[in-house]
């Protein structure tokens, strides 16, 4: 068996004296592990850092074998990510999220999204938006997608500003008004049909993380006996701190000061 594919390094585990078992999220073969000979050595270590993109050649005698990888770096992001706290926390959290995907099951959409998210880690705010969207996409990919396209109560597609904590469906302003205290806010950048989907305030970011975090915990993590990683909390704190340092308090509370490429 043999194939070649693009991949992103999610994690590395030392195997014996000099080899390493490398976990990649590949474009067409999903989350896939393989042995890298010499992977524990100093020559390979810079390449085998989470977040780096590689071209992978996988070989095994039988399809169900672990197999061996021959890797060549195509985009070495890790070294540039190490400098900032939000980037290191973010990469760690993204790798932990990607690890929730079933092994050897292709998820081309998630691969493209992970690649785009990692490429846009320079700005803390932009990275945060990408991360919330990644968490939302992860819920969908695992079969627990939230329906944010129409109001769960009336079917309306306009003015969707809440999410039902029970069903995960969007709720319009009018239908949700009587239960506004119990509903979760739907930040503008997650609304499906909205020309302001790239604008956000700090509160929108926190609302986004609260929304995806709650459903990830309920549907994905708790059934597996897990909780949110420390890296997620570290990422949110780092983003909030950086935005606080960069933007005056008055501007932070107003909407629309941030912009992320979608």
């Amino acid at each position: 068996m043999e194939w070649t594919d693009d991949g992103i390094v999610l994690g590395v585990r030392r195997h014996g004296e000099s080899a390493a078992i490398v976990e990649l999220l590949t474009r067409s073969h999903g989350r896939h592990l393989g042995l890298v000979r010499g992977g524990a050595g100093s020559r390979m270590r810079p390449l085998l850092q989470p977040g780096n993109s590689v071209n992978a050649l996988w070989r095994a005698r039988l399809d169900e074998h672990l197999g061996t990888y021959v890797l060549e770096g195509t985009r070495m992001r890790a070294a540039s990510l190490l400098a900032s706290s939000h980037a290191t926390y973010g990469v760690t959290h993204l790798a932990a999220l990607a690890r929730l995907l079933p092994e050897r099951d292709p998820h081309e959409g998630m691969f493209a999204m992970l690649e785009r998210t990692l490429d846009d880690f320079d700005s803390a705010g932009g990275a945060a938006i990408h991360l919330v969207r990644f968490e939302l996409a992860m819920l969908t990919e695992l079969g627990f997608g939230l329906d944010l396209s129409a109001c769960a109560a009336t079917g309306a597609t306009a003015d969707l500003i809440y999410v039902s904590p029970k069903s995960g469906g969007a709720v319009s302003r009018q239908a949700g008004e009587p239960w506004r205290d119990r509903l979760l806010p739907l930040p503008p950048f997650l609304r499906a049909i909205n020309d302001e989907q790239n604008c956000w305030s700090e509160q929108d970011l926190l609302d986004g993380f609260e929304l995806t975090g709650r459903f990830l915990l309920r549907y994905v993590l708790e059934p597996r006996g897990q909780g949110h990683s420390d890296a997620r909390a570290g990422f949110i704190n780092a983003v909030v701190r950086k935005r606080a340092a960069a933007i005056p308090e008055g501007a932070r509370t107003g909407a629309g000061e941030g912009r992320a490429s979608s």
């Binding site: 976990e23 977040g51 770096g73 190490l82 290191t88 926390y89 760690t92 690890r99 420390d230 570290g234």
Partner: protein
């Protein structure tokens, strides 16, 4: 069917030696044979040294270093600068820094770095003890001498967050071109980090 060549005692010795880093079954067999041949000159002193190590070696309750006493030799050295604590992931890193004579400060050994893949969380490291040491008024600087890996730097950022209310300067090792490194052979990430952290010449 292969027949046993040696008794179970020698087999056991070979099996244990094969567990050492750098030794496989074949080299463990050679080492065992060498020990047996040099029974008085090597095997007996080695067994004695191992027994002494078992009896006397302990982990320093202050910094996490390995020594025959606690607090360890480093922590009781009055010539060291009490204003600096160098944080390392492992005792091997502490020994490497001491070999290099790179610092005259005290150390703190975390025990590992944060790694979700390996299930290592903050509770598995000696971070609480470090935070408590950082609040000592004599300490002015915490140097985070952790690996330039995603795990190492995530740990560094995590510790920096926790030290926010301590009145200390938090620094970390520079990343860049190693001595003897040729630019042509460096990965682009290291090169761009070196370029970003360039210093006045």
């Amino acid at each position: 069917m292969p027949t046993a060549v040696t008794g179970p005692e020698i087999d056991r010795l070979i099996q244990l030696l094969a567990r050492l880093p750098g030794l496989g079954p074949r080299s463990a067999r050679r080492a065992a044979l060498h020990l047996i041949k040099k029974r008085e000159a090597l095997m007996t002193p080695l067994a004695g040294a191992l027994q002494v190590a078992i009896d006397r070696i302990r982990v320093c309750e202050t910094c996490g270093n390995i020594d025959t006493r606690s607090p360890c030799t480093v922590c009781t050295d009055a010539r060291r600068d009490p204003s600096i604590i160098v944080v390392v992931a492992d005792v091997a890193d502490l020994w490497a820094l001491e070999r290099a004579g790179a610092t005259n400060g005290f150390y703190h050994v975390l025990g590992a770095t944060l790694s979700p893949l390996d299930g290592v969380g903050p509770q598995d490291l000696t971070i609480d003890a470090l935070v408590s040491r950082a609040h000592d008024p004599r300490v002015a600087e915490i140097v985070l001498a952790l690996n330039a890996t995603v795990d190492g730097q995530t740990t560094a950022h995590y510790i920096t967050d926790l030290l926010g209310d301590a009145n200390v300067k938090v620094t970390r090792l520079a990343h860049g071109v190693p001595v003897g490194g040729e630019l042509d052979y460096l990965d682009e990430g290291t090169l761009s980090a070196a370029m970003r952290q360039r210093t006045l010449f």
